[in-house]
């Protein structure tokens, strides 16, 4: 995918700045048409010349540990979900900023994140060409599904 390197760079930079921990990319593959959530999924929409979305998916235990790592007062499930939503928003924003500055006429913008929590949730994204980036952290596995229409 044309934009994927911008996302890889922003995810690594954002994660390390927010949580003071390393994040390692394990694999990069075409994403399946549906996602079976690990427990917490955040979706950030992308609008503009090209439309798309970024979905980050992780177990709730990982979300809770990350939130507390950022600030010890973010120690309940609701605040952990908002923290992960902010992480997804910032990582996406960094990538979109770089795309806008480097790929003329993109004028992409973000949409406020949506948060999904619960087990056995399946999320479908028809019509998007998506890549899945799977990461390892000391708090558990995190997947990013990045999709755009027609890219």
């Amino acid at each position: 995918m044309e934009y994927i390197e911008y996302f890889k760079e922003s995810i690594k930079e954002t994660f390390e700045m927010m949580f003071d921990e390393n994040i390692t990319l394990d694999s990069e593959n075409p994403a399946p048409g549906w996602i079976e959530s690990k427990g917490v999924a955040v979706v950030v929409g992308i609008t503009g010349v090209k439309k798309g979305r970024v979905l980050v998916d992780m177990p709730i235990s990982t979300a809770l540990e990350l939130a507390v790592k950022m600030d010890s007062e973010l120690n309940n499930e609701d605040l952990a979900l908002y923290t992960i939503a902010e992480f997804c928003n910032i990582a996406s924003g960094g990538a979109i900023t770089a795309i806008n500055n480097n790929c003329g006429q993109s004028a992409l913008r973000l949409v406020t994140p949506s948060i999904f929590s619960g087990t056995n949730a399946r999320i479908f994204s028809p019509g998007l060409k998506s890549a899945m980036l799977s990461y390892t952290t000391t708090f558990g596995k995190i997947d990013f599904h990045i999709g755009f229409e027609g890219v």
């Binding site: 939130a67 950022m70 806008n100």
Partner: protein, 121 residues
């Protein structure tokens, strides 16, 4: 010296908590919280804060529109824009409505306080 009043505008409670902690630790009073631009405009008029931290991407009314509304009525309002986005077009749009201070997320609490201190000098 009376403590300065801060209003925090962001749709993320996690960001409110981080900024509020840093603000209180540095002698600021958080006089209002708003989670979208519409609330921000109303809260500003009710509390007249010395400084505002304003997110851009929010539901109902975004931070740029809210800042424009506030600055049209209170041209001396001090607004620190915070955003995950920071491309040239967005920064130019912010400058065109009178925003001169801008911080890219992610940030540390002390980054915000340093910027606010500079704005209020």
């Amino acid at each position: 010296m009376s403590c300065k009043k801060l209003m925090i505008v962001d749709d993320s409670p996690a960001i409110h908590l981080i900024i509020e902690k840093a603000a209180k630790a540095n002698g600021y009073e958080v006089c209002a919280h708003a989670k979208n631009g519409d609330e921000a405009v109303k809260q500003f008029e009710q509390t007249l804060p010395d400084v505002v931290t304003m997110d851009i991407t929010m539901p109902i009314k975004d931070g740029l529109t809210a800042s424009k509304d506030i600055l049209s009525k209170y041209p001396n309002a001090k607004i620190l824009m915070l955003s995950a986005m920071g491309d040239e077009e967005l920064i130019n749009e912010a400058k065109s409505i009178g925003i001169t201070r801008f911080i890219r997320k992610p940030f540390k609490g002390e980054d915000i306080i340093n910027e606010i201190n500079n704005m209020l000098q």
